[in-house]
Amino acid sequence: MPESLRGKGVIAGIAMGKVMIVGQNLDGYLKNYKPEDQAKEAGKIEEALQAVAEMLQGNVRTLQEKNMPEQAAIMEAHRMMAQDPMLSGSMMEKVGELGSAPEAVLAAAGESAAMFEQMEDAYFRERAVDIRDVGKRIAKYILGVKEPAMGDGAVILCGYEIEPSVIANIPTEKIAGVLLGAGSTTCHAVIIAKARAIPTVVGIGDDIQKIADRDDVIIDGERGDILIDPSEETRETYEEKLAKQQELKSYYAKLAPLPAVTTDGAHVTLAANIGTHMDVDTALTYGCEGVGLFRSEFVFMGRKDIPNEEDQFKAYKEAVEKCQGKLCVIRTMDIGGDKPLPYLNIPKEDNPFLGCRAVRISLHRRDLFLPQLKAILRAGVYGKVAIMVPMIINVDEFKKVREFFEEAKVELTHEGKAYSDSVQLGIMVETPAAAVMAPILAKYVDFFSIGTNDLVQYTLAVDRGNHNISYLYSHFNPAVIMLIQRTIQAGIDKGIWVGMCGEMASDPYAAVILLAMGISELSMSAPSIPKVKEKIRSVSMERAKEVLAEVMKMEDGNEIKEYLHKAL
C-alpha cells in the first residue's frame, strides 16, 4: 500500500531505493526471543560466530577489491574479534548464567568493551566501540535481524538517529539517501551526508517507525517527501526527475576540471567546507581547489575525552595530504554552549551564542589549544596549511592567539618534532566587531575569512533558526554588504588575502559582487561549487563591477536580491 510521510528536506535531490534500517535497537527483539536449552543456545552462538566471520571476510574482500584499504582493515579487525577465543569463551560462560544466546553474546562483548574503555591509550578505548559493534552483529544474526550485505545496490539509510561511524564507513556510492527521525540539521551524520551530496530528510519523528527494512521508498530531499511503496505512476514521475538530476550532475562533472575565471580572465579560488578528511574525496570530484574550512570540532565530537595531539595530528594530516598541495584551512575548535562537549564541562549558559565559545574557550584552556596548534603545525609538513581562528572580536585576543602559536612552535622544536614554519595564521571575520576593526586587525593576521552565517546573525540581531523572523535574515542586507566590503578592502590595503566560508559564498549571485569587491577565495559545501563556477564563468569582471556599483547605491536587501537575479 502506498503511503507518504513528510519530514524536513535538508539536502536536495531525489533518491529511490530499498530502505536499510540502521542504528536499530535490539530491545524489542530480545524481549520476544524464546531461548531453548543451554546446549542448543551454545550451538547457536557457534553457528553465528562462524557465519558472521564469513560475512566479514566477504566484506574485507569487497573493500580490498574496491581499493579501500582503511575500511578493509577495520572489517578485518572485526572478523578477528568474531573469531577471538577469549570472547567466544566468555560467551559460552555467560550462556550458562543467562540462558539466552543473544543476551550472552551482548554481555560478553560488553564486558570486553568495558575492559578496553578503561585503558589509557585512546587507540584501545576506540576499540571498545568495535567490540560492541561485533557483539551486536552476532546477536542480530541469532535474533534473525537481517543485515543487508554490502554487495547490494545503493540503499536509503533510515534510523531515528544514525551514528556518524555508520555513514562514514559505508562507501558513498552505496548510500542513495538518508532518513532521520531526529530533527537536527547539524548532527554529524547530516554534515557528512551534505559533504557527499546525499539526499537527506530529517525530523520525521516517530513516524519513522512506519518505514520498514527493505521497503521501497522514494525521497525528495528538497521538499522533505517520503513515498513508501509508491505506485507505478508515481515511480515513473520520479524516474524522470531522477534522470534530469543525473543529467545536471554529468553537466556539473564536466565543469569540475575547468577554472573559476570570468570571461575576462579574473580568477577566484573555489574551495570546500569539510568536516572529515573523507569529505575531501567527494569535494575533489566537484572541482574544489583546496579546503577553505575544515571544521576541526568534528575531531572533538562523538568521543568521551579530549583528543590528544597525536590523534588530532593524524586527522589533520590525512585532510592536508588529500588536498594535494592546495591550501587546507583548518579552523580551530568552534564549540560553545549550543553544541556542548560533555568532557569540556562548559556551564549551561542562557545565551550561548553570546557566551563562552570558540576562541574564548581556546584562550582559557591551554590543555585544549596548545595540542591543537601543535597538531596542525605538524600536519603542515604534508602540504600547505593555514590556521583560522573563529569568533575574534578584538586585537588583544589575536595577539594572545599569536603567542600560543609561537609557544607551540617552541615546544615542537624542543620535542624534536617536525613542523612547518610556513603555516599561515588568520581569523574568521564573523562578528561585527571584527569587520569594523578589519583595517586594524589586518596588520596582525595573515588572512581573513568571512563567516557569513554568524556575521549576518550578529549584525542583524536575527536568530536564523527562528521562523517568525526568518524574513529578516539576509546576507544581502546593506549593513552586511557594507561590513563585507569593508573587510575585503582592509585586506587588499594591507596586502593579505580575503576569503569567505559562510553560506553566502555558495550563492552564485552573491559570488559575482564578492568577486567585484576583490575577494580571492570562496569556500562552500562541495556540491554548491559547480553552480557558483558556472555563474562566474558567465560574467566579466567589468560587468561584475558595474553590478556592484548599482548594488552599493541600494537601500534595501530585497531590492538588492531582486536586482541581482534580474541583472545576472
Binding site: 582493515a73 578485518e76 579487525a77 578477528m80 574479534m81 573469531q83 577471538d84 577465543p85 577469549m86 570472547l87 570486553s112 575492559m115 578496553f116 585503558m119 591509550d121 587507540y123 584501545f124 576499540r127 567490540i131
Partner: protein
C-alpha cells in the same frame, strides 16, 4: 614444549596492525601458543587478549607453544617480532 624470550623493538609495539599480524600468524599453527609478559600469560590466538597486554616497545616477552608444530610456531613468531613487523 618449546619457548623463546625476546624483546619487542618495533616503534609502536604489538599494537594495532602488528597485533593483527601476530595473531593471524599464531592462528595458522595447531599448537597451543601462549604469550607471557609482565607477569601475565595469555592466549596468542586472541586479538583481544594480546591487545589488552599493552606490549609496548622495550617489553620483554616469552612465546611458548605446546603441540605438534610447536618448534616451527615459536621460530616463526620469534622471527616476526624480530622483523619489527616491517616498521622502524
Amino acid at each position: 614444549m618449546t619457548e623463546a624470550t625476546m624483546m619487542i623493538e618495533n616503534k609502536t609495539g604489538i599494537h594495532a596492525r602488528p597485533a593483527s599480524i601476530f595473531v593471524q600468524t599464531a592462528t595458522k599453527f595447531k599448537s597451543k601458543i601462549q604469550v607471557k609478559a609482565k607477569n601475565k600469560t595469555v592466549d596468542a590466538k586472541s586479538i583481544l587478549m594480546i591487545m589488552s597486554m599493552g606490549l609496548v616497545k622495550g617489553t620483554e616477552m616469552t612465546i611458548c607453544a605446546d603441540g605438534p608444530d610447536e618448534a616451527e610456531a615459536v621460530k616463526t613468531l620469534q622471527e616476526l617480532v624480530a622483523s619489527k613487523f616491517g616498521e622502524e
